[in-house]
């Protein structure tokens, strides 16, 4: 961020193309090539964006998927969060459609951990499903290609041309090794995780740490090798952590440790260590944060070597290319899903998914108070019971007042508590599938995002395998 002082010191405008910019600004003027003909442009190829793109393309849409890294999967691949959050509720699988297809295919192909029971994702309550990151990357490459999605890696959405008053997005400006492109499309899905596109369009957003008191901390996950899983103390990582904290092993006494999960014969991924107060919307905070994350990862490696049986000879293979950001920006949508809805296990006629993960807002700092707040919320006050679920209504995906823009993934319209539940990959995938499906329906019926027939949307999603148990459907979206 430029400080006020440096702005004042900076010289008068440097003109380009004969144009004059206002003082202390530079006017960038470029005539850039235009591409058109797309039904849908999806910004971001994480779990939500990839689902949106594939599902829309399968319904016949011409789709461009723009991804900044060199692979699809987002937090699941580049973020090395190589485990899907719980997808069943103790009785049945809540997650259908594209997400279910992914996990079942990974299982068929041998990319889930050795010996993992299918009940882990089909039935069990609050059970994670770890996976091999390469298998997931390959599968998403394959599914996008088969569906006819045009993927552009190493490409970023840097700007947008929209009419905020009318709620219309005309096109996006992309940038990659070939320079700028202006891409027009009929519809757009923001799957950036940080609501980057929505913000560029002027959608009303809440930013963690500015519009809320706190930011949920981020983690830089790591891959480890050389683990003897037979001897690994399953379910006892918190006991070991308590010992290490007593020994002052860590530079920060972080009581919260999601821990090491098995992904292969001798390999595992570690979700451990928090970067408190990291603001993913500030470059300096991200830069400092990822450096801190790498230092913290070294402490966790020595922690496991010293305290955990079976880990005496583990090797740290790599930290993730991307920071595991949990919270940054949330849009204000046509419906804001709130904690009362969650506690009421509320179902909606227009719900596009059901889910049951606990409110999982990691402690904001290392204090006892925060640890207690987190534990209580995660295990009691913000936890659903076996057999239960809450509905995710269509309106959380639709930025308030926007006609051809949807948001999918963790920046959808939810309050801080509900965000703490549905910020994870399976929910993102379901929301992405719904956004892509809705976008196509909007094009075909000529109706804007908020006015599409949500009964038809639910039918289409059900046909594509979504589990949507609502008995009552309705032709209009729920508002709040």
């Amino acid at each position: 961020m430029v400080s006020r002082r440096s702005l004042l010191r900076s010289p008068a405008a440097l003109a380009a193309g004969g144009a004059k910019a206002q003082a202390s600004n530079y006017r960038l003027v470029r005539d850039i090539p235009v591409e058109q003909g797309y039904d849908l442009v999806v910004a971001g190829g994480g779990p939500a964006g990839t689902a949106a793109a594939v599902c829309a393309a399968r319904l016949g849409a011409k789709v461009l998927l723009v991804e900044a890294t060199g692979c699809l999967g987002g937090m699941g691949t580049s973020g090395l969060v190589t485990a899907f959050d719980p997808m069943a509720n103790g009785e049945r699988m809540l997650v259908g459609g594209f997400m279910r297809e992914i996990v079942e295919t990974l299982n068929t192909r041998g990319f889930l951990p050795p010996g993992l029971s299918a009940d882990s994702w089909r039935k069990k309550f609050m059970t994670w499903t770890p996976f091999n990151v390469e298998g997931y990357k390959l599968l998403l490459d394959e599914l996008t290609t088969q569906a006819g999605v045009e993927v552009r890696f190493f490409t970023r959405v840097i700007d947008a041309d929209s009419i905020a008053g009318a709620g219309t997005l005309n096109g996006v400006v992309l940038h990659n090794i070939e320079g700028y492109r202006f891409v027009r499309a009929k519809t757009f899905v923001d799957g950036t995780g940080d609501a980057v596109l929505a913000k560029l369009c002027g959608v009303r957003c809440r930013e963690a740490g500015r519009d809320t008191p706190h930011i949920m901390p981020a983690t830089l996950t790591s891959l480890f090798a050389g683990i003897d899983w037979e001897r690994f103390p399953r379910g006892k990582q918190y006991d070991l952590l308590a010992l290490a904290l007593k020994d002052n092993h860590f530079t920060q006494p972080d009581k919260h440790l999601p821990g090491m999960s098995r992904i292969g014969q001798t390999t595992g991924y570690l979700n451990g260590g928090h970067m408190f107060n990291l603001d993913a919307l500030r470059c300096k905070s991200l830069t400092d944060g990822i450096m801190l994350g790498r230092r913290i990862a070294q402490e966790y490696m020595s922690f496991y070597r010293k305290y955990a049986p079976g880990c005496e000879k583990i090797e740290h293979v790599t930290t993730a290319p991307l920071v595991g950001v949990r919270e940054s920006r949330r849009i204000l949508g046509e419906y804001e899903l709130n904690f009362d809805d969650y506690l009421g296990r509320r179902q909606f006629p227009d719900q596009i998914a059901v889910f049951n993960k606990s409110v999982d807002i990691h402690p904001y700092d290392t204090s006892d108070t925060e640890w207690e707040r987190f534990s209580k919320e995660y295990k009691q006050t913000g936890a659903l019971k076996s057999g239960e679920c809450f509905g995710i209504p269509y309106g959380v995906l639709v930025p308030k007042g926007w006609k051809n823009l949807w948001v999918a993934g963790r920046p959808v319209s939810a309050d801080v508590k509900v965000h703490g539940s549905l910020r994870v990959q399976p929910a993102a995938s379901m929301m992405g599938q719904a956004a892509g499906t809705a976008a196509l329906q909007s094009i075909r019926t000529g109706r804007p995002a908020r006015d599409i027939d949500t009964e038809q949307l639910v039918l289409t999603l059900r046909k594509a395998g979504a589990y949507l148990p609502q008995v009552q459907t309705r032709k209009t979206l729920s508002h709040a």
Partner: protein
């Protein structure tokens, strides 16, 4: 302020920013037909002496070297770590740096290796002779160790690093050779960065091209593109029992195991007790300057990696239980663009083991132009070049003249790394990390000298440059120095 101006522009542009339509308010001229006029007022930052684009081996070295000399440096990196091919590309092994008698690289490259050694981040059991003396000896390392070290050196020298930040445009006058500013973009939007000096360490000559420097694009201006490789990390290797990989490859090829019969196979290198990096599988004709080629190439690279894991499990003793941990986040590019510099280092210089009064490094890596396709002719060409005609003997080396990092005609722009000025053959030798680090250190040092002495890149006192580099530990054995740089352009 940024948001305010953005809002204003959005309103101004609004729906009228249409294809090919005139937007007189922006520049007084209509947009070109079939184009869209992007017009934004963006915040200016003007506190830096030097902007370095790209934090790979060349860029990191440039930034650290310049900051240590007191410059205010901004280092802009697209990924979330420094090291480039060494870290994000997972090419976790430095090419040989000694000539059988002594280490040819001093300065930052030697400092990095020695520090990684001290901290236990080099291959288990490796002896210092591997980099201090032995000929043709690789130096494998743990990438996390290098990431941490570069974080630390950047911070301790006072470099301001911005991760997840891309150079997207430049404001330069190719006729006068003056670069005024760079336009960068990240989560916070656009910034215009004004600086006294600029270093292009993007690997692809991105900034030099944007500034209008003359460039040579592989495959467009040359007949072929050296193929890249998507590197992988493997775990569960029993290194004590590791079999002969080349013998195994011959057998597998004879049995038509691979989808492409690629005989050129650098192979798996040990980096830890049970882990290794695989440099195997080529993506032929991949053009790193074309987005579609890169996207298709990444996908293909991941499929090739699966064939290699199956190959190792089936054919190589000690690898029966290997696990494929991950492919690299970045493509392991070998060739894309070279900038035409004040001196183009050519094969005749290489063959003559030429030394220069203004050389900023000496090196001896062989001409290592991977096969352009899977034909017998290519394999024969490559083998002969790499093993015989393009290989220096122990004790030999060639100089890297300063002019190869100065884009021709530019006053305050340098390039470092594989996009420096070299012909195709020499590029095949000096495209690698140790050479990039030496060039980067020289570029950073030259940029500071240029800013301080107010002399342009081509006119700085190269005797002083050599002296400063020597003080910083560079090995520069030339007995005669010169105040002026050597020039030669093909």
């Amino acid at each position: 302020m940024a948001m305010l101006s953005r809002r204003t522009m959005l309103q101004a542009a609004g729906g009228s920013a249409s294809v090919g339509a005139a937007l007189a308010s922006n520049s007084g001229q209509p947009a070109k037909l079939g184009t869209y006029r992007l017009s934004r007022d963006i915040p200016v930052e003007a506190k830096y002496d030097l902007l370095v684009a790209g934090g790979g081996p060349g860029g990191s070295a440039a930034a650290i070297a310049a900051a240590r000399l007191g410059a205010k440096v901004l280092l802009v990196e697209g990924t979330g770590c420094l090291g480039g091919m060494a870290t994000s590309g997972m090419m976790m092994s430095f090419c040989p740096v000694a000539d059988g008698e002594k280490c040819l690289t001093g300065g930052l490259m030697l400092e990095w290796i020695e520090t990684l050694h001290k901290r236990g981040f080099l291959k288990p059991g490796i002896q210092p002779d591997a980099w201090r003396k032995r000929y043709g000896s690789w130096v494998p390392f743990n990438a996390e160790g290098l990431k941490l070290l570069l974080d630390e050196l950047a911070v301790s020298s006072g470099v301001e690093t911005r991760f997840f930040t891309h150079l997207i445009d430049a404001d330069a006058d190719a006729r006068t050779g003056q670069v005024r500013g760079a336009i960068i973009h990240n989560i916070e939007g656009y910034r215009y960065v004004k600086a006294g000096a600029f270093i292009d360490a993007t690997g692809n000559g991105v900034m030099a091209k944007l500034c209008g420097a003359k460039c040579r694009d592989a495959g467009t201006d040359t007949p072929g593109i050296m193929p890249p490789t998507l590197i992988s990390l493997f775990a569960g290797i029993d290194w004590a029992r590791m079999g002969d990989q080349q013998v195994a490859m011959k057998k597998a090829l004879a049995e038509n195991f691979f989808s492409q019969p690629d005989r050129h196979f650098p192979g798996m290198q040990q980096i830890g007790n049970h882990i290794g990096l695989l440099n195997g599988g080529h993506l032929f004709h991949l053009d790193a300057l074309r987005e579609k080629s890169m996207t298709d190439g990444m996908m293909k690279g991941r499929r090739l990696a699966q064939e290699f894991i199956a190959f190792y499990r089936k054919y190589v003793p000690g690898c029966e239980n290997v696990e494929h941990v991950t492919t690299a986040p970045l493509m392991g590019l070998r060739e894309s663009r070279c900038v035409l510099g004040e001196y183009e280092l050519g094969l005749s210089d290489y063959n003559a083991r030429r030394k220069f009064p203004d050389q900023i490094g000496v090196y001896n890596y062989p001409i290592d132009i991977h096969v352009y396709d899977t034909s017998d002719q290519q394999y024969a060409r490559y083998s002969k070049e790499f093993r015989e005609t393009g290989r220096m003997k122990p004790g030999e080396s060639v100089g890297l003249p300063y002019g190869m990092i100065v884009p021709k005609g530019f006053k305050n722009l340098w390039v470092a790394g594989r996009c420096a000025s070299m012909d195709v053959q020499v590029h095949g030798a000096f495209r690698v990390q140790p050479a990039a680090v030496m060039m980067g250190q020289a570029a950073g040092t030259a940029a500071v000298q240029s800013v301080r002495t107010k002399r342009s890149a081509a006119e700085i006192d190269t005797e002083l440059l050599v002296e400063t580099l020597r003080k910083a530990g560079a090995y520069l054995p030339q007995s005669a120095t010169s105040k002026q740089m050597s020039r030669k352009t093909a």
